[in-house]
């Protein structure tokens, strides 16, 4: 059991010809993104659990003096969010083809479609028809919608930033992989909104 001296080495092969930029689950950034998705998805799940825990303290839901939430704006925003997956997906495909022109185009369309979403989110909060400080129902509903809103703002900012960079500066080729991950994150953002929408806006009509 002799310790090899750091300068006594035997090469079993060279990694010189391996690629330096990859897409999807091969790349480190994809794994990092997945890690943060897990944290954020889990956080929302915990908040949803607390929402149902608080539900036990009320006979009716929403509490008797509170009107049901309005669903018009939340439903419009939901449709917009689902639709915005299309340009995100096309940007992802373009990035994998290394097609800079198409990436710029689809990122721009993604930006234009996603910018109204956080703004509508503001009206969506008021569509709850209750304030956060009215009662625990209000606190729970606001936190569930609001915490998704925080993530949403950061992700929209990420898309806007990426679009600005692509249009106004020379981007390195590795940013193609980042573009793909940005779309990946957006799918997640839309996917976790679906259960939140059902719980907060549709749920009170059902139970």
């Amino acid at each position: 059991m002799t310790t090899p001296s750091p300068t006594r080495q035997e090469s079993l092969g060279s990694v010189r010809d391996l690629p330096t930029v990859t897409f999807g689950h091969r790349s480190l950034m994809w794994w990092g993104t997945l890690g943060f998705m897990t944290i954020e998805g889990w956080s929302l799940a915990l908040i949803a659990a607390m929402y149902f825990y608080i539900r036990q303290n009320f006979l009716t839901w929403p509490p008797i003096t509170i009107p049901l939430p309005s669903v018009t704006i939340p439903t419009i925003n939901l449709v917009l969010m689902v639709a915005s997956v299309v340009p995100a997906w096309l940007a992802d495909r373009a990035a994998r083809r290394l097609d800079v022109g198409a990436v710029k185009l689809w990122l721009l369309i993604s930006t234009l479609m996603s910018l109204p979403i956080p703004i509508l989110r503001w009206y969506e909060l008021w569509s709850l028809n209750v304030r956060w400080d009215t009662n625990a129902y209000g606190s729970a509903a606001w936190l569930l919608v609001g915490s998704h809103a925080t993530l949403l703002i950061l992700d929209v900012a990420d898309t806007v930033g990426l679009t600005l960079f692509y249009w106004f500066k020379r981007m390195p080729i590795k940013a193609m992989s980042d573009t793909s991950d940005n779309s990946f994150y957006w799918y997640f953002m839309v996917a976790i909104w679906l259960p939140v929408y059902l719980i907060v806006y549709v749920g009170p009509y059902v139970f």
């Binding site: 090899p4 990694v15 915990l46 625990a136 606190s139 080729i173």
Partner: protein, 667 residues
């Protein structure tokens, strides 16, 4: 054991593009070329000089070293607070600390030890050693790593500035509502606690993602999942636990408690449909796994130390891995045993009692594996090994009282007494701090290049083991005699005086022991014996590189042929070549079999992590005083993201892009 064949793992997956990695015959590398490579790598990887270089470094070893030193200073601060409490409680009706000051001191002690010492120092050990142990040039996300450290540092400064402003939290480290709510805790003391927790949780989450991705994607070729060192397995399981536990307390403290206090939400206000018990559920859903987050890394330190000093490969590698994973799962199913004194349905009580007893099994399995390993070998009683023996005695004791506390009837009897204080300190000092000291003696030479003094070390080890037992054993009896925790004084008629005096005497021994450690570390860092690459003749990859490890960690990426790389391969070290020396590159391998997959361009030094942490500090600290600080903070965060992204996309190198089954060269 015969040496396995010296070649790269066969490439079975079809992910890698064809013919990227030809099956080469082994070639002994020319030493002059290697020395030349070392010089070039140093140019590429070393930090800039001066204050700017110091503030912008993203070297995982430098960041983790700062992390460890800061967290150790917090151990000393928390220890001094404990000393003040023991001074106050040494005799009945003492007047050294008044009730208000005492509340702040015990809350700061608990908060410091749990949030600013234990979790950070354990993850910091992982941030230092995981990349070295898996044979990687660096960590997966070095800038995120630096951001995590600075966020944690802001939390440290925040709490201690508050303490000196007489604004330190005073509702206990568990901050139970309604005591911590707006009605019973006006002022900003509890707000400090609530926001401080968020600082440390963000830091822990950043570390967890880093450790997971480094372990999954950056292992040396050949280090398949069933060859990962047990230290790294423990860190990996803990990282996953952090991801599922920490969000709970971050939500509870910042989004619920702080907002109940600042913007009048009603989460914990029963008058408006809120629920005080909800706090206990969320807090302990985090708080119980927290205990395992703290001592599983401690268990991870033990295996390599036992193996090295017993000259034996560990018995039951698979059993230990499975024990770690099982503990990780069970840890999330026990939280209610902290709430047996609340109205919990009987079925719930039985379930959580059973789960709390069951978790002793996987830990027991690990202990038996180490005992068998030690019996089959010939242990060398170095300081590290003495501490490991101390771990067995102290930790098993703490585990046994844990099983006692799992029983509802007994738990109700001793709830909130010193029995619980004794139990938790036995587990944490025995299961985490004792192995941590052992780890310091064992890996100190890797960090500093010098060995610690063994004579002083053994004095310290024995004093620590004796001191811990003398301090905390009598607390069991005090608890059984009815002494409640968190009281600032007691009457002499209670009869608790003599045992309390003994406990305080034990605390003095711990202080002497830790002082000896500090003296030893300081002296050895300056003038200890030079260690060389592998002073203990151990087997991990961290010992295959000089001590201290150079900025680029490894000259060439080592290839692993078994679970004990250096014991399995002997000399010369098998490596793969081909990572560039003129820019920072790390090797990414496949998740299961660790086959070389691609080279990844690694980030360089950056000031953005520090700026981002400052912005976050502005956001959280400001929000205590006005909700508008959140708005400003979000705006600044968006600007920081732009700046960070700008720097990340500044260089346009020619890359080999693997996409849609082909490789394209493009810039």
């Amino acid at each position: 054991m015969t040496n396995p064949a010296r070649r790269l793992p066969p490439n079975e997956s079809a992910v890698t593009e064809p013919a990227a990695l030809p099956d080469a015959t082994p070639v002994t590398l020319n030493e002059d070329v290697l020395i030349d490579d070392a010089r070039r790598l140093e140019m590429t990887w070393r930090d800039g000089g001066g204050l700017w270089g110091w503030l912008t470094t993203v070297d995982h070893k430098v960041i983790a070293r700062r992390y460890i030193i800061t967290a150790f200073l917090m151990f000393i601060a928390g220890g001094l607070e404990a000393g003040m409490m023991r001074m106050q409680l040494a005799r009945p009706e003492n007047t050294f600390l008044g009730p208000d000051r005492y509340n702040q001191i015990f809350t700061t002690h608990g908060t410091t030890m749990m949030f600013l010492f234990a979790v950070p120092i354990m993850t910091a050990m992982g941030l230092y050693f995981v990349p070295l142990m898996v044979g990687a040039r660096s960590i997966a996300f070095p800038r995120l790593n630096a951001f995590g450290y600075y966020t944690y540092l802001m939390g440290v400064i925040f709490l201690y500035v508050s303490l000196f402003l007489n604004m330190a939290p005073d509702a206990g480290w568990t901050a139970y509502v309604p005591l911590s709510g707006p009605e019973y805790s006006p002022g900003h003391r509890v707000d400090v606690w609530a926001q401080l927790v968020t600082f440390t949780e963000i830091a822990a989450l950043a570390a967890a993602v880093n450790i997971i991705v480094t372990t999954f994607k950056m292992r040396a070729p050949g280090m398949s999942l069933n060859r990962i060192p047990l230290f790294v397995w423990a860190q990996l399981v803990v990282a996953f636990m952090i991801i599922f536990a920490m969000p709970a307390v971050a939500i509870a403290s910042t989004l619920q408690l702080a907002s109940d206090r600042a913007i009048a939400t009603h989460w914990f206000n029963p008058a408006e449909g809120g629920d005080a018990l909800l706090w206990q559920h969320i807090f302990w859903f985090f708080g119980h796994p927290e205990v395992y987050i703290i001592f599983l890394p401690g268990l991870g330190f033990i295996t390599p130390i036992v193996e090295t000093f017993c000259r034996r490969r560990v018995f039951g590698y698979t059993a230990i891995v499975l024990s770690n994973i099982t503990t990780g799962f069970f840890a999330f199913g026990l939280w209610v045993h902290h709430m047996f004194a609340t109205p919990i349905p009987e079925l719930g009580q039985s379930l959580f009692t059973a789960a709390s007893m069951m978790i002793a099994i996987p830990t027991g399995v690990q202990i038996f594996c180490w005992l068998v390993t030690m019996f089959s070998g010939r242990p060398r009683l170095t300081t590290a090994m003495v501490l490991i023996l101390g771990f067995f005695i102290t930790f098993v004791n703490g585990g046994l009282t844990g099983v006692m506390l799992a029983s509802v009837g007994f738990d109700k009897q001793v709830h909130d007494t010193f029995f619980v204080v004794a139990h938790l300190h036995y587990v944490l000092l025995g299961g985490a701090v004792t192995p941590l000291f052992a780890a310091f003696y064992f890996w100190f030479p890797k960090v500093t290049g010098r060995l610690m003094n063994e004579t002083l070390g053994k004095w310290q080890a024995w004093l620590f083991i004796i001191g811990v037992n003398l301090t905390f054993f009598p607390m069991h009896i005090l608890g059984l005699n009815g002494m409640p925790r968190r009281i600032y004084t007691y009457l002499s008629q209670t009869g608790w005086g003599p045992l309390n005096a003994l406990v305080s005497a034990g605390a003095v021994i711990i202080v002497v022991s830790v002082t000896l450690f500090i003296v030893n570390a300081a002296m050895s860092w300056r003038s200890g014996l030079l260690a060389g690459a592998n002073p203990w003749d151990s087997y991990g990859l961290e010992w295959a590189t000089p001590s201290p490890a150079p900025s680029y960690n490894f000259l060439n990426t080592p290839v692993v042929l078994g679970r004990h790389p250096l014991w399995d391969t002997g000399s010369p070290l098998p490596v793969v070549t081909g990572l560039r020396t003129d820019r920072r590159e790390v090797l990414v391998t496949t998740t299961f079999d660790a086959q070389p997959d691609h080279r990844h361009k690694h980030p360089t030094a950056s000031i953005w992590p520090l700026i981002m942490a400052l912005v976050m500090a502005e956001l959280w600290i400001g929000s205590i005083f006005t909700p508008w600080a959140v708005l400003g903070g979000v705006g600044l965060t968006l600007l920081c993201m732009l700046g960070w992204g700008w720097q990340s996309t500044a260089e346009t190198d020619v890359e080999r892009v693997a996409t849609e089954g082909r490789i394209v060269e493009a810039a």
